[in-house]
């Protein structure tokens, strides 16, 4: 068994060892070992040239990653959290995403940006948000959200091989999670959703840190005689429409889990996809389980109440199945 954080470190090591164009930079990724201890030991193995501690200037070190990628390198940039990444949003949206198109295909940006996302650690409203949908909104970039140890490893490798800019969201509650890791297996396409648990009565769609909650909810539902299929989206842009529609066409019911706020969320987008392309497959209204419309609060009981939890998923699924 390997932890999620160790799986990312293993992937970073592999990439840094195999390709001299690869380098890794971000705040406290070197001497400190990474804010989530992902990159511990990498500075010692690869040196200051390839594992770079940056100043606290998200916009400029992400922009420098874009420039270096255009200039023929393969940078992997870590931004400490999605909240901090807003300072670099200009570079991602106005440069990384548009460079290929705006230059008529002359310049590509093979850049990987990794960042932590999500709540659960009582670090309040400037460190706990889920803004994956902000990035998934933008054509020109791709967005991944690994929910398993295996995906944490495989998706980083796939992202680096991709010629387009890829943003990877790592839920901060997953870093310590254990799971199997097979570094020799041929990984599935990162751009396709996965059925993490097959079921027949209702489709529960989740991504990132919500996937383990969805699986726990499915176990509880089974005890109550409800068979839930759990879909892990894996890729948030592109969205695997076929997998979403395919599953709902079998179960005829959909519960969408998203740690973002409901308004304008990916859950809203998936609802729209289902309404557009699977409307006549639905036997019950779509249910969304999202974060309440408040900044994530500090106090434990308030934070837990704000973000999707197993009981809310179970309740939503039961409501959907019972038609109430």
């Amino acid at each position: 068994m390997t932890t999620y954080r160790d799986a990312i470190r293993t992937a970073l090591q592999t990439l840094l060892r195999e390709d001299p164009r690869v380098f890794f930079m971000g705040e406290d990724v070197g001497r400190y070992g990474g804010p989530y201890a992902v990159s511990k030991g990498l500075l010692e193995e690869f040196g200051e040239d390839r594992v770079r501690d940056t100043p606290l200037c998200e916009s400029t070190f992400v922009g420098a990653g874009i420039g270096a990628a255009i200039g023929g390198m393969r940078p992997i940039v870590e931004v400490m959290t999605v909240n901090f990444s807003l300072l670099a949003l200009d570079q991602v949206v106005n440069n990384a995403a548009v460079m290929r198109h705006m230059s008529g295909g002359q310049f590509e940006v093979p850049l990987v940006v990794r960042m932590a996302t999500g709540g659960g650690k009582q670090i309040a409203a400037q460190h706990s948000h889920s803004l994956e949908n902000w990035y998934a909104h933008v054509p020109g970039i791709k967005v991944l959200a690994p929910a398993t140890v295996q995906d944490a490893h495989d998706m980083l490798i796939a992202a680096l091989e991709d010629p387009d800019p890829v943003v990877i969201f790592e839920h901060q509650m997953l870093y310590g999670v254990d799971g199997p890791l097979d570094t020799d297996a041929t990984p599935p396409s990162p751009w396709k959703a996965a059925i993490r648990r097959p079921g027949t009565d209702v489709t529960v769609i989740a991504y990132g840190g919500s996937v383990p909650k969805a699986l726990t909810a499915a176990e509880e539902l089974e005890k109550e005689g409800v068979s839930a299929e759990v879909i892990d989206l894996r890729s948030l842009r592109p969205l695997d429409r076929d997998a979403i529609i395919g599953s709902v066409s079998r179960t005829h019911r959909a519960v969408l889990i998203d740690e973002a706020w409901k308004t304008g969320s990916l859950a809203s987008e998936i609802s729209a996809i289902l309404a557009e392309d699977a409307f006549y497959e639905l036997d019950a209204p779509i249910a969304r389980v999202c974060t309440l419309e408040v900044p994530i609060p500090y106090a434990k009981h308030l934070e837990e109440a704000a973000i999707p939890q197993v009981d809310r998923i179970v309740e939503a699924a039961k409501r959907t199945v019972s038609g109430g």
């Binding site: 380098f23 040239d49 770079r52 940056t54 100043p55 200037c57 916009s59 400029t60 070190f61 992400v62 922009g63 420098a64 990653g65 874009i66 420039g67 270096a68 990628a69 255009i70 200039g71 023929g72 390198m73 940078p75 200009d90 570079q91 106005n94 440069n95 460079m99 290929r100 198109h101 705006m102 230059s103 008529g104 295909g105 002359q106 310049f107 590509e108 054509p139 020109g140 791709k142 991709d162 010629p163 387009d164 751009w191 592109p238």
Partner: protein, 325 residues
């Protein structure tokens, strides 16, 4: 003072400044005929900066420019026809009609755009220089930006990062005294822009950006120092834009008298008078330059007119390496 440059070189500099001026005048005319749309930012008045700088840099150096970049692009060698076609929005434009006036690109000429987010090109330049440094390429990345960009956080962050990591970036600040319509003294606390970079350990100098020879020398010296030391440097080019910020600008923020006064320093008039007085260049030479420029621009307009429109079916092309659908 006698110029210690060759006649051929004087002719080259004059030719390129005149090419830009006539190209920009034609662009303004085509804008009023609605052949060119969107934003159009003319370089008229600032020609000595683009021409001097481009002649001082090496072909293998990287260029990052702003949305007022027709001049740099022309002198860098992007064919006038491809620039004009880009402004027409045609498929034979240098960015395939997807960029327009503000987003000229050329991989072949290491021309990395045409950036229209003020300050947004600076981190890109830092990254290009980082790539070169890591690969051991003896290249300088020349990054153009205006005085307005020095207000942006990315300016300060980029100076700091380039100095900290010892990256070969030449920061070229085209100070035309206005951040769009906001005068220098109304947007910076210290009007001496070159005071800023030394705080980050970046040596800084200023040069008269209306004097093409002075610009060429200063940029050459700075670029070679960047190359030798592999450390960033900063050069302020003091210039002035004679035309409106863009074609939408009614110029309510400055007087006609101010503009007329500054036109006395017209970089082309001044240089042309100087080389004529020196006897280095004759009126016949200038007539020939003007005739060539007119021919080049007529051919450019023709190239743009003849260009094809990109088929709408191909609209998503170049969004990703491969279409996602």
């Amino acid at each position: 003072m006698t110029l210690d440059i060759s006649r051929d070189h004087a002719l080259e500099l004059l030719r390129d400044m005149i090419r830009i001026r006539r190209f920009e005048e034609k662009s303004a005319e085509l804008y009023s005929k609605q052949k060119i749309r969107g934003f159009l930012h003319l370089y008229i008045g600032e020609e000595a900066v683009g021409v001097g700088a481009m002649h001082a840099l090496r072909e293998d150096d990287n260029i990052v420019a702003t949305y007022r970049e027709h001049g740099q692009a022309l002198v860098r060698g992007i064919p006038a026809g491809e620039i004009m076609a880009e402004m027409y929005g045609k498929a034979n434009g240098c960015s395939g009609g997807r960029g327009g006036s503000m987003h000229l690109f050329s991989a072949k000429r290491r021309f990395y755009g045409g950036h229209a987010i003020v300050g947004g090109g600076l981190p890109i330049a830092v990254g290009l220089a980082l790539a070169d440094k890591m690969k051991g390429e003896p290249r300088v990345t020349a990054c153009f930006f205006g005085d307005g960009a020095t207000d942006e956080g990315e300016f300060h962050e980029s100076l700091n990062l380039a100095a900290l990591w010892k990256l070969p970036v030449l920061f070229l600040c085209e100070n035309n005294e206005y951040a769009m319509g906001t005068a220098l003294h109304r947007h910076v606390s210290d009007r001496d822009i070159a005071n800023n970079p030394p705080a980050y350990g970046v040596p800084a100098d200023s040069v008269n950006g209306m004097d093409v020879i002075a610009v060429e020398r200063a940029v050459h010296n700075e670029a070679e120092l960047v190359r030798e030391t592999s450390k960033p440097r900063f050069l302020e080019l003091k210039t002035y834009r004679f035309r409106a910020h863009s074609m939408y600008d009614a110029e309510l923020y400055r007087s006609k008298e101010e503009v007329e006064e500054r036109k006395k320093q017209d970089p082309i008039d001044v240089f042309q008078a100087r080389v004529l007085n020196d006897g280095m260049v004759t009126q016949t030479d200038i007539d020939a330059i003007e005739a060539d420029a007119a021919k080049e621009i007529a051919a450019a307009v023709d190239f743009a007119e003849q260009g094809e429109w990109e088929p709408v079916e191909d609209i998503t092309r170049h969004t990703y390496a491969r279409d996602l659908s």
